[in-house]
């Protein structure tokens, strides 16, 4: 790898990644390194296992009232989840019972008392439900992020992925997915960004894709929003901040996408798209 960082520094980043202290912008870079470098992989496996255990030091006794309350709430939810649902016949029998005047009267009295006694409890419950709903939203977002990252890492490391060597890195396609894994991209002038372009099969003009800036660590991973199976080529050029509708500079590279598994050594940089 043509990385400007020395090996020790990169491995230091792996430990920081395993602990979870890297900014989001660097995570995908280190993940790529881990997938490509067996020593980094070993370092990651060991560091992650150890870092996960740091949390155990926070274990502490929970006061018995709180522990019991939590357990009661939790098991009530769980048991209601596994309890068999009422059958229509059972519901009909139940309706008949509730049809008696005595039961109806009891229910009315019970409801009145409950409304008075539980008014504040319902308010607390509503608040708690809102907090649980908010937490659930975060959990769902986390799961989506992890699933997306896992899919990307699987694609990059898959043996059936197609890899094309280009200036400053590799274009990787697998199924419908296409990624740019670029190292040591030249720094950009102020107000400039890199922009990816895609050329659909049979098309005469390229379509604008994502804009990105190189990572300070020299490794940039860019998933493109296009179906790799319908693409004839991908390219990257330097464009004004915000991107352009058509390339305005000579491409950094242009890479046709074909059937070859690995076109090592082929460099498509500075070639015209037409």
């Amino acid at each position: 790898m043509n990385d400007p960082l020395d090996r020790e520094t990169l491995l230091d980043l792996v430990a920081a990644y395993a602990l979870g202290v890297l900014p989001a912008t660097q995570c995908s870079l280190v993940a790529s390194l881990i997938l490509a470098d067996p020593e980094a992989r070993r370092e990651y496996d060991e560091a992650r296992a150890t870092a996960n255990l740091v949390g155990l030091s926070a274990e502490e006794p929970v006061d018995s009232a709180r522990a019991a309350r939590m357990k009661e709430r939790l098991l009530a939810d769980v048991r209601s989840d596994v309890a068999p649902r009422r059958t229509p016949a059972g519901a009909a029998r139940s309706s008949a019972v509730w049809g008696t005047a005595l039961a109806a009267a009891a229910a009315v009295v019970f409801a009145l008392v409950s409304v008075i006694q539980n008014f504040s409890l319902r308010s607390d419950l509503h608040e708690a439900q809102q907090r649980v709903a908010a937490l659930q939203t975060h959990v769902d977002a986390d799961r989506r992020t992890v699933a997306r990252d896992r899919g990307m890492l699987t694609d990059l490391s898959a043996s059936d992925a197609k890899r094309y060597t280009v200036a400053y890195g590799t274009v990787v396609t697998r199924g419908a997915h296409v990624y740019l894994a670029l190292t040591s991209l030249p720094p950009l002038a102020r107000g400039k960004v890199y922009q990816a372009w895609t050329l659909a099969r049979g098309a005469k003009t390229v379509a604008p894709s994502v804009v990105f800036t190189p990572s300070e660590n020299g490794l940039t991973l860019v998933p493109l929003r296009a179906d790799a199976r319908s693409l004839a080529a991908v390219a990257v050029s330097v464009e004004p901040e915000g991107g352009s509708r058509q390339p305005t500079t000579k491409p950094t590279f242009v890479q046709p996408l074909g059937a070859a598994q690995m076109q090592s050594g082929e460099r498509g940089e500075h070639r015209s798209l037409s």
Binding site: T9, L11, D12, A15, A16, A18, L19, G20, V21, L22, P23, A24, C27, S28, L35, R41, Y44, D45, E46, A47, R48, A49, T50, A51, N52, L53, V54, G55, L56, S57, A58, E59, E60, P61, V62, R66, A67, R69, M70, K71, R73, L74, L75, D77, V78, D81, A128, R131, V132, A134, L135, Q136, H138, V139, D142, R143, V146, R150, M152, L153
Partner: protein, 177 residues
Amino acid sequence: MEDGARLMERVRARDVDAFEQLYDGYHRLVFGIALRITSDAALAEDLTQSIFLKLWSSPETFREGNFAGWLSRVTRNQALDVVRSRANRPGAEMPAEIPAEASTDATVFARIDAQRVRGALSALSEEQRTPIELGFFAGITHEEIALRTGIPLGTIKTRIRTGLRRMRESLNETVSR
């Protein structure tokens, strides 16, 4: 109590008794981490509830390895997410779950408990322990750790790396005794 990973296998089969054992065995860990990160007992209680309910509803999210370590990481990430959403700021990102090649943590660290981890952490020098604890519990980036401690970023990275290595060695020693 059965090992957490085995209990999770039973939870997958909708075994309520196994789930109850899981709660009895691990609620102190989940609540402790949530409380340490949020400094809010009511919120820590809600998080504990939410995390255990998730274990019940989606037991497949745990695949293999050291259950306590995995649960610890899940709790940490969810608690930090709540803290961040309240503060409306981004932070360090959880590592994408690159699948482990071998469940070394499961075999080597299966019997690790809180006391052993505290021992291993206290065996580190303060300069190694501080960035590791700040990173795990405060969820700040290595750059923020450097700013907060006034130590150069490169030194922080090295201390995290060497600290985790020493901690692992120390835990290995306690396991092999």
